[in-house]
């Protein structure tokens, strides 16, 4: 085996060790993630909480601001996705109604009518 071949084998082994260390032993830890990185069931529950809170405060502006933390999708898409997931995973009918109520309220919501919060 030539010297160059051995050198390349060493580089390869080092790379493998480096990748193993970086991906398995000590991977990058995202301890400060945003809600948009939550797993889909947690995202769905997050939307459900927004829907529950909306039933109390009836503040659509606040609901939209809360939904905005889940990423750049539109609030109606976020609620629709959550409703889909909830429907597929047999959420209680009461919870499905909450998703629907929030979704319907979003459709009729006019942000221009919002009174700005100081």
């Amino acid at each position: 085996m030539s010297r160059w071949t051995k050198f390349l084998v060493a580089v390869l082994l080092g790379s493998i060790i480096g990748l193993f260390y970086g991906w398995v032993v000590n991977p990058v830890e995202y301890v400060d993630i945003a809600p948009e990185s939550l797993r889909v069931d947690y995202r769905t529950d997050y939307v459900l909480m927004v829907a529950e809170a909306y039933q109390v405060d009836k503040d659509m502006g606040l609901a939209v601001r809360r939904l905005a933390l889940l990423g750049s999708s539109t609030p109606t898409d976020l609620v629709a996705n959550a409703l889909n997931y909830a429907f597929q995973h047999d959420y209680a009918s009461q919870d499905l109604s909450l998703f629907q109520a929030l979704g319907e309220a979003l459709l009729t919501w006019n942000p221009n009518m919002e009174v700005p919060t100081p």
């Binding site: 051995k6 050198f7 060493a10 580089v11 080092g14 060790i17 990748l19 260390y21 991977p27």
Partner: protein, 274 residues
């Protein structure tokens, strides 16, 4: 011969080079992506938002088990304590009252394992209590304070017993406790059945200042308990949010120990629902 004298260092060089490339690739170019992260990995401010949302959702559902499950995802050592602390921080930071109240109510519910009355919730509408329609005249036997003695409670149905106007000052006294040398305004609020009432907002004012505090945020001292640290030399007034009756002229007063030494006492006020 000359090449042999270079030894095998090139292998180590290659391995180190490969290691650096591997680490660069795994940490920078293509790091592990947490696309399915759990709530406990959220940034601290997002965790605070999450707690507020859990508390707000709890106000709707009154489902303590569900709220506990949700909070468990944040892996706080003591969820009730975290909520209570956040409620106090939110209060100090001037966050919306609804947020403070929601956090406080859930903290209380978790601390005691029961569901306190929560106003403006869809499910708490069942807990309607009629306040007496008769005019109430009270004369608090307090040592200090000149509260207005006549109140006119509403004769209509109210969603909760937490109406400030329906409570009157029942007692005001200086409590001397050497183990509690910091001057406090200690408030205990009881409903008509003598049960402590959590989640009520108290407003304390002084010249050039105002602060708000809530009952129930120290459940270990009672659900109807709240306290406020006084600064010696400052004169305070206290009333329940929405209440008509105000207790004035509250200031730090001294107590005397048996050995003659002096320490700060605390004003103990009781608000009761007639």
């Amino acid at each position: 011969m000359r090449a042999d004298r270079r030894g095998s260092w090139y292998l180590l060089t290659g391995a180190i080079l490969g290691l650096v490339v591997g680490l660069f690739y795994s940490w920078v170019v293509s790091p592990v992506k947490y696309v399915d992260a759990p709530p406990y990995a959220l940034r601290a401010d997002f965790k605070n938002n999450y707690r507020v949302l859990v508390a707000a959702a709890y106000l709707y559902s009154n489902d303590l088990v569900r709220a506990e499950d949700r909070l468990a995802q944040l892996r706080d050592d003591d969820p009730a304590q975290s909520l209570a602390m956040q409620a106090q921080q939110a209060l100090a930071a001037g966050r919306p009252e609804a947020e403070v109240r929601a956090l406080g109510l859930l903290a209380i519910a978790l601390g005691e394992g029961f569901t306190p009355p929560a106003s403006s919730t869809a499910h708490s509408q069942e807990a309607i209590i009629l306040t007496p329609g008769a005019e109430n005249t009270t004369t608090p036997p307090g040592v200090i304070g000149t509260p207005a003695n006549t109140i006119l409670p509403s004769s209509t149905a109210t969603p909760t017993p937490a109406e400030g106007a329906s409570f009157v000052v029942g007692e005001t006294r200086l409590a001397c406790n050497p183990a509690q040398p910091v001057p406090l305004i200690q408030v205990e609020i009881l409903d008509a059945a003598q049960n402590p009432v959590p989640g009520l907002e108290l407003v304390v004012t002084w010249e050039g200042g105002e602060d708000h505090f809530f009952t129930g945020l120290k459940p270990e001292l009672g659900l109807g308990y709240a306290d406020f640290n006084m600064t010696p030399g400052v004169v305070y007034s206290l009333h329940l949010e929405g209440g008509e009756q105000e207790v004035d002229d509250l200031s730090a007063a001294e107590c005397q120990a048996e050995d003659g030494s002096r320490y700060w006492g605390s004003w103990r006020l009781t608000f009761i629902q007639p």
